[in-house]
Symmetry: C2
Subunit: 103 residues, 2 copies
DNA sequence: TCATTATATGATTAATCAATCATATAATGG
DNA sequence: CCATTATATGATTGATTAATCATATAATGA
């Protein structure tokens, strides 16, 4: 059980634009594939693959109801992580850090 | 300026075992390449490439002092992110979530 | 049962990635 | 200036990845 590898896998799963869009959309709650792929503007098959991959790496739930399959975020920590990434991104974009260094 | 892409890049940078080991080592503070690569048990050239890449994606500082080049974590949020990833990993390993679901 | 809707998956392709080896550059001390 | 130490980089290779198209499976309702 390589813990470094497992931790990396969780972060790597979040570190891909299409999957990040899925996470953002699922903040609002559980959604089926038929709602997810139009919302993020990706192909159904591609979206399905990413969703499966996100379940495998432990960041999403899957629940079946009739023909539909619903997906939801599995851990509140996921939202915290992507929010922290946003904070870092904003600091990088505004160059706040670079300015502090230059001063 | 694609914000989804930039956020993803930060997370993707953290989502690779060698780079995660670097982040873990740099928790203790600023270190030069000559300290980093033996500590994480990777080749010097490989370590150098990862360090450069981490500077490019905005998660590390670089400071030069004579022949040595020191690297350090640029944002406290990075530690928070990897800690949250650890929390998720532990919950997945202990299967706590699955048990709650099954109950 | 048949048509429809929802989802998943096989095959393919182009792109990206990580690691390695060899070598280059750059600063320092003797 | 030369040898040494620290770091970076070019070239290569095998592996992984994301996206796409076409098709398969599975549930539902008429």
């Amino acid at each position: 059980m390589d813990k470094t590898y497992l931790r990396a896998e969780i972060l790597k799963t979040l570190g891909q634009p299409t999957r990040l869009k899925i996470v953002d959309f699922l903040r609002e709650g559980e959604r089926c594939v038929c709602e997810i792929f139009p919302a993020i503007n990706e192909e159904q098959s591609n979206t399905s693959r990413h969703l499966n991959m996100m379940v495998s790496s432990g960041i999403l739930f899957r629940r079946k109801e009739g023909v539909k399959i619903f997906y939801a975020l599995k851990h509140p920590e996921i939202i915290a992580i992507v929010d922290l990434a946003t904070t870092i991104m904003v600091q990088e974009i505004t160059g706040r850090h670079s300015l502090l260094l230059a001063a």
